[in-house]
């Protein structure tokens, strides 16, 4: 998917609006006025509101994936790669908190089947990526072979999401990067081989 510059501007503004007031705060009127033009101008760039949200998910996903691939070294041990992923993810959250609420919008999208399809696809891709690295880590003996890779994937993704949600709901009261260091430390202790 290639977006025009103007489309990307609109998508990014939509992100910050969702961040500020939740998905319900993202109205065509609100989005247009924050863009500095009128409502109908939006429809010169997107077919409808669903297309805006769909593009937002796709854009956010590709930005994150590109950044993540750049941060990853496939020749490192699996455990180190998992930690690099976590570090990158939390750094991204910290730099651009808007993204957090986009992730959690997933739960609000269930009434729009085209959006839920996009969301499910994105989640499945991430899951496969992490799952693969865990298997690799169990091969290179940096991750405990006794642990179920699928469960571990869910534990890691769940912990990242939950920590990010807590940070957001607390009004960014604690230091996310510090908290994430503790989390990474704990996960490392838990999943490295025992001997």
């Amino acid at each position: 998917m290639n977006f025009t510059d103007r489309q990307v501007q609109i998508i990014e503004k939509a992100m910050t609006l969702i961040d500020e007031g939740g998905i319900q705060h993202l109205t065509t009127k609100n989005l247009a006025s924050h863009m500095g033009f009128t409502e109908p101008a939006l429809y010169r760039h997107f077919k409808n509101k669903t297309e805006i949200l769909d593009s937002l998910l796709i854009h956010y996903q590709s930005v994150l994936r590109i950044g993540m691939e750049a941060a990853l070294d496939p020749y490192k041990p699996g455990l180190d790669q998992i930690m690099d992923i976590m570090a990158f993810q939390f750094q991204t959250f910290s730099d651009n908190p808007s993204i957090i609420m986009v992730i959690f919008s997933e739960a609000s999208f269930q009434n729009d089947s085209s959006l839920i399809a996009t969301v499910t696809k994105i989640m499945a891709q991430k899951e496969q990526r992490i799952n693969g690295i865990i298997l690799q880590g169990q091969q290179d003996r940096s991750i405990n072979k006794n642990l179920n890779a699928h469960s571990l994937t869910n534990i890691i993704m769940g912990a990242m999401r939950f920590t990010a949600l807590r940070w957001k709901l607390s009004g960014f009261e604690f230091d996310l990067l510090e908290e994430s260091k503790m989390l990474q430390q704990t996960i490392t202790t838990m999943i490295k081989p025992t001997h």
Copy 2:
């Protein structure tokens, strides 16, 4: 908080509506018609829509807490108690999937400060409960003392939530209780002492 029978009926109907179509599907019109009466009748039982959502959170929380306390034996080792909590939680999700989307509505509630206060309170209570049990488990040596209790709490809560969300988004495609057994097994292996 004590609710009348009628209020509880309305709250439970609201839960199933949120479950079916997300928070946006919960409109006063929809709720009233599913209750079999007209819109204004709702306002004989609740001040406004926010009070309905607030009551829903409080009601759901007290139901869950009462069930959980009943399922818990404070004389068991901490690790066993954690597993009992997880088993209870997943059984509840499995029996009553509506509750899942209520949990994830948290993210949609951010534009209503009275709701976010309720949500934050509920989450903090759960967190403290689990954190306490982990500390107890580290005392009675059923849980590895080297693990940070706070991080562990987030890992466990995050894993439960993420698994539930995946189950819901997949259209209940996999067996939640089977998946949760794997998850509990993996967590047990990870957090029991190494000695």
